[in-house]
Symmetry: C2
Subunit: 338 residues, 2 copies
């Protein structure tokens, strides 16, 4: 008997998508991008859903409920931003064991509402159930975008430069720090790396700016690690890409921790996940203008980490040598050993 | 320490709604009806989400996965129909233990797709996770409707007649049948009552017909029992209602089983739940026209079960005596004894 742990999470979703290719005239994008996209009058509606399960994504005693709410929201905010949209409304479905402390729920719900308010995101409703096991939270987030400006994964072009919006691997470094409580680092670095893991920030301003600039050809967010997410983008665009090892941006904090642990921070960047950077492709002739725009509007930098190739596949250029990259990032159902 | 089991599910949702009353200009309805309603160009978009948890809503060995998929869909289809909308698209979030048989997933996903196809409902995406405990399925269903024709809970009028679209209590009778395997009834009745419980049918045709007729003032679906759902409607409309015991419609199958078990089928109708009938209010002067329309278009009957009162509260008129009704239907978190 085949069990789910014998196949991968990606196969599960792909299997559904392959059996269900038809879509109505209002569906601009179904399965296969950061969000689904529906036509809604002159606008496009973006939809994304993310599920967090106790014991898989978090431990009840490890994480305070307010952080959990902010993390769940950040994951979905990042999906909306990665299409170039602005988040507008949410629904929340939860399954909670009857012995859950009401304070846990109060703190979770309160934090979610506090995050919604300044963003003018409306809580539209949801569903609640008892759970016979873990706490389960499922957020559905809706965004809006100009349908002509949405950035998909599938529209990168050969020769495009691939940029990321922030240093990579900080969340994975935060996880490594958690796994090694004996390691001593300075308090500021500790706080920075733990925050990267526990309080990730979505690129809510940058995503729409990139879409509206008209200078970018495709986009995805880095939630599963650079290798896995760049692979998603190359496959959706029927292209390949070469990662430029020398250009991968790391924070000083991640580099210091990597040195202490004798690790290569590139591993964290490639397969660590949960960075929620934006990864986007830019024709070489647009790159200068885009850098200027982002400095001008947000006083920020971007980093080139790869270039798009006509040849399919993912390659890693390090010390003058380019070799194929096979890592596919973390998959939930796959047994850890395989 | 207060636990969730000490408060009710209704309080949980209400608590969130009360802390979050503001809503943007595109939100036609937030928390507090069968669906949330968003403006989408000239149309309205309806959104509903329903979560099913193993051990709470179903037992893995008890129900085949295809039936489970159909039931999950029917619950959401009924919510869309209860606003007068037509279902158009869905997202599915699941948490599945790694030891889940892939056949279970295949059967569940296959059945869902088979239900989507003839309805031209698009599967837009979703999320999958491992689960450390029960199977969890969360469906998000989107529908469309004419914003001028949507039927809310809050717009019933004093003196309106209250109708239901089908006999009540069949699902509860099916549950009673399941709890009494020693009971012998004829095979046709057995199949009918078990199907009412396990394969509920949403009023997908009738809902939009009622909305488009212009003859109906408010609507809700009967998912928690007549008492609880009529109470929702009366409270949303700031009115009361009197249930007419003599007029409650029962199937012959439910009446026969009630006789064998020495039960009153009215109990099943009032607090049984899962009937997925539509409950709607009609000014007396429209009732005849509506009956004719429904006979003409769908060759079906409707049943008056109550009338709307100016006085708040829910009353039960039986044998010439009207008494207040306090049953609130099944609540998930509330301990069974309370």
């Amino acid at each position: 008997m085949t069990k789910l742990k014998d196949i991968g999470e990606l196969d599960l979703i792909k299997g559904l998508a392959e059996r269900f290719t038809s879509s109505g005239p209002d569906v601009l994008k179904g399965i296969g991008d950061d969000c689904a996209v529906l036509r809604a009058g002159n606008e496009a509606l973006l939809l994304t859903t993310d599920i967090l399960v106790e014991g898989v994504h978090f431990l009840r005693d490890d994480l305070d409920p307010a952080s959990l709410a902010r993390k769940l929201l950040a994951i979905s905010l990042s999906d909306i931003a990665a299409m170039g949209g602005r988040s507008k409304a949410g629904l929340l479905a939860v399954a909670l064991p009857p012995d859950t402390d009401t304070k846990f729920w109060e703190s979770f719900a309160g934090a979610l509402i506090e995050e919604f308010k300044p963003r003018e995101i409306d809580l539209l409703g949801g569903d609640t159930s008892s759970s016979t096991g873990p706490l389960v939270f499922n957020l559905i987030l809706l965004g809006r975008a100009d349908p002509e400006r949405i950035l998909y994964r599938s529209t990168a072009r050969e020769g495009d430069l691939v940029f990321v919006s922030r240093p990579l691997g900080d969340a994975a470094a935060g996880l490594a720090l958690q796994a090694h409580p004996e390691i001593k680092i300075n308090q500021a670095a500790y706080k920075y790396l733990r925050a990267a893991l526990e309080e990730p920030q979505a690129e809510e301003e940058l995503g729409p700016l990139l879409a509206e600039s008209g200078l970018v050809t495709s986009m995805i967010d880095v939630s599963d690690g650079l290798a896995a997410d760049l692979r998603h983008l190359t496959e959706a665009s029927s292209l390949g890409a070469e990662i430029l090892a020398d250009r991968l941006p790391f924070s000083e904090e991640a580099k210091d921790l990597a040195a202490v642990l004798d690790r290569d921070p590139a591993e964290w960047a490639l397969s660590g996940g949960e960075d929620y950077a934006l990864l986007f492709t830019v024709p070489p002739s647009n790159a200068g203008n885009l850098r200027h725009l982002i400095r001008d509007r947000l006083d920020r930098e971007i980093w080139q980490v790869a270039r798009m190739l006509a040849e399919p596949g993912l390659f890693y250029l390090s010390k003058g040598q380019s070799r194929p990259l096979t890592s596919r990032g973390y998959e939930h159902f796959r047994s850890k050993g395989s």
